[in-house]
Each structure stands twice: as structure tokens, then as C-alpha cells.
Amino acid sequence: METQSKIACHDCDCLIMLPEMQINQTLVCPSCSSKQFTTYNRPLDYSISYGLSSLILLVMANSFPFLSFDVQGQIRTITLIQASNDLFIQDFVFLAVLVYIFVLLLPMAYLSLLLILLIPIKFGLKSFFAVSIGRLIGYFRPWIMAEVFIVGVLIALIKVIDLADIIVGFSFWAYIGFAILFTLTANISNRHQLWYWIDRAKR
């Protein structure tokens, strides 16, 4: 397959000839000034290493205490999954499923699929289901709400900080680390870059 020589802006459909781009440059639509994509230094290596670190931190965030709540010596300690699980116990199934999907399941699936796609490409091997993975990842991206969840947790903590002693667990920091690395990974392996790799994998 030929390399793309032009793209169309996703916001206004203006045809844009792809220029020669340096590292850390962003292509902006000349007609509506919407951002198309940014180029990064060694994108494949950084996507894999940030993605892998991010995935490991997410697994760790699920394996340790998240927060503890201490009222007059009575301590309640929760893990990350309980944010969804306790809603489920209270029969708020819809809410529980949403929280689980947006906070844990989709990020986990996104990172795993990205690594399954990119690691074989890195070592010049055949990548299986490259096209399906590329499409799935695109569908997942807008629904991953790690950073929103962190702000939600902080506000929840401010709400209860006067009522009890709060102990912040290891999982909390792991989740913040995951969210930062996830954002970096997703930015570096943006849609333009991702499909360039998939094209290369098919050749």
C-alpha cells in the first residue's frame, strides 16, 4: 500500500497535503485550525515502554489497598475494584458496570491490545488481527476516563476529610502513575501513527 500523501481534516473535510514533519511538530488544519496529529521522537519505542509501564501500574493499582477511612478507630479499607463492586452490591448495576468499564476494563483492554499490536511490529514479526485491533483501539479511546476518575477521587476525599482520617494507599499512587503514562502512550500512538504502523505490519 502506498503511503498517504494527503489527509482530510476530520472537522471540516478540507484536503491537507502531508508536509515533511519534524519531531514534536503538530499538523493543524489550515481551514478550521483543528489539530490533526503530533509527531514524536521514536514513537514505537516510547509507545511500547510507556504502554507496558502503564499496564503494569494498572495491574498493581488493582492489587493493593486504594484508600482507608478511619473513624474513631474503626477502619474501612477499600481496593480500587470496590468503587464499582459496592455499587453492584447495592443493586446499582448500570452504574457499577459503567464505572468498571470506564475506569478499569477499557484502559486494560486498550493497553493490552496496543502492546499485542506493537511488540511484533517492533521486532519485525507478523502482527495478528492488526486491523481489528486498530479499529477497536479507536473505539475505546474516547471512553477511557482515568483522569476524570482521579479528579472524582480527590473531590470525594475533600468531602470526607473532616469526618475521618484518610490513609492513601499504594494503589492510589499506582493509578495516578498509570493515568499519566496512559495519556502519554495514547498521544504518541495517535490514530495517524497507529495506522501507519498497521500499514507497515501488513506489508
Binding site: M1, E2, Q4, S5, K6, I7, A8, H10, D11, C12, D13, C14, L15, C32, S33, S34, L67, F69, V71, Q72, Q74, R76, I78, Q82, A83, N85, D86, L87, Q90, F92, F94, L95, L98, V99, V103, V131, G134, R135, G138, P142, W143, M145, V148, F149, V151, G152, V153, I155, A156, L157, I158, K159, V160, L163, A164, R191, H192, W195, I198, D199
Partner: protein, 229 residues
């Protein structure tokens, strides 16, 4: 992408013919649609729309998302209806020594204002009240503006759309606050937080407005307005 000129020319001719037959949009010059090229929704490869499916990822090709406005409107109207119970019912109940207090979304904001935490009050007010309402109104207006002459210029409308698309998921903040409080504040007999009906409704509002923003084809802003000028 370097199709031979003759083919492109015949595509344009076919496109013009199709337009005159079905009375569809005239696409502005300089756009991909004008040349009969469809921008793939999944992988952004430009292909001749007559191919039908993207040669790279096999997604269906369209010059513009079909029935984008109708689907956006249907989703937004559902979201607006759902926003009513989201504000009437309590988003959570706090049980302090068997003493139950219900708090609505607005009640939660008022509580923060009363305790002097103006910044947090502002964040929750923005995320749960201002953004959802503004988002629903802006999307409604954009749907209207694509069919009528609008006071705002195309770049302004386009910027509004991008802002609503970007900001959408931040409305989930209140839902996550409830989820964490329900899990964390659970010491039986002393202090328990229970989720309220409004939380489900509000989550529905956020999801529906997000899908509505995705369904809206931003390119329609530029198509119609260029014709009117």
C-alpha cells in the same frame, strides 16, 4: 492516492450527477467530498467513496455520516428528558447514626458553598450542572445552525463543537465521587453513604450527550454555511 486524473474527473462527474438527482448537499471546493473522496471514520484513509468499504480497515465509507443530525437530535432529546430525574432525585443518601440525609446534585454544590469550599463547589457545579446543560444546548444549536444561517461564523461554531466534544467526559466527575464515597464511607452503625436514583439518570445523561457529540458530523457546519454565503 495518486489516482489518474481521468478517474478523479469521472468521480466528480458522478458525484455531481448524484447531487442533482437526489438534491443533496453541494460540497464546497477544497474538501475531500468535493472530489468524491471519503475520509474513513476509523483510520482516516482517503478513498473513492464508490469503493464502498475502506481498503485499509474495511469500515463503511461515507462522504458524510448518514442521518447524523437526526441521530444526534434523538440522543440529545433523550438526554434532556433524563436530566429532569437526575436533578429531582437524590444522587446519594448519607446515613449518620441512622439519620438519613438525601442530597441532590445542586444540594451537593450548596453544601460545599456553605462550608466555604468555593473552589470545589465551582468544580462540581461546572461538571454536573453547567457543562451538561451547556453541552446539550450547544449541540441542539449546532444541529439548528447546520440547517439555517447562523449568527456565528464557521470557525466559531467549529470551535464550540470541539469544546463540547473535549469536555464531555468531565461530567462523569460526580458519578465517580458517588462511587468512591459509597465504597469508602461504609462503617455500619456510624456512617454509610448509599447511591441515589439520580446517579443512574445522570450517568445516562453524560453517556447520551457524549454519544450525541460523536454522532454529530462536524463537517456539516462547513458544508451548509459555505453555500449560504
Amino acid at each position: 492516492m495518486r489516482n489518474d486524473k481521468a478517474k478523479v474527473a469521472s468521480d466528480i462527474a458522478a458525484q455531481k450527477k448524484a447531487n442533482t438527482l437526489t438534491q443533496h448537499f453541494q460540497y464546497p471546493p477544497g474538501t475531500a467530498a468535493f472530489e468524491g473522496l471519503a475520509n474513513c471514520r476509523s483510520c482516516q484513509l482517503l478513498s473513492d467513496v464508490n469503493v464502498g468499504n475502506c481498503p485499509r480497515c474495511n469500515d463503511t465509507l461515507y462522504l458524510r455520516s448518514p442521518n447524523s443530525i437526526q441521530r444526534t437530535l434523538a440522543l440529545i432529546i433523550t438526554a434532556i428528558l433524563l436530566y429532569i430525574p437526575a436533578n429531582i432525585y437524590p444522587i446519594m443518601n448519607t446515613v449518620l447514626f441512622n439519620d438519613k440525609t438525601a442530597s441532590t446534585i445542586v444540594g451537593g454544590v450548596v453544601l460545599f458553598v456553605e462550608s466555604g469550599s468555593y473552589f470545589i463547589a465551582a468544580v462540581i457545579f461546572a461538571a454536573s450542572v453547567l457543562i451538561p446543560i451547556a453541552k446539550m444546548l450547544i449541540i441542539l444549536w449546532l444541529c439548528y445552525a447546520t440547517s439555517r444561517q447562523s449568527h456565528l461564523s464557521r470557525p466559531e461554531l467549529s470551535r464550540l463543537y470541539r469544546a463540547t466534544e473535549f469536555i464531555g467526559k468531565w461530567s462523569m466527575i460526580d458519578i465517580f465521587v458517588v462511587a468512591i464515597l459509597v465504597a469508602l464511607v461504609h462503617i455500619t452503625g456510624i456512617m454509610v453513604v448509599e447511591p441515589g436514583t439520580a446517579a443512574q439518570a445522570f450517568a445516562g445523561v453524560v453517556i447520551l450527550t457524549m454519544i450525541a457529540a460523536h454522532q454529530f458530523d462536524a463537517r456539516l457546519i462547513w458544508d451548509k454555511q459555505k453555500n449560504n454565503e
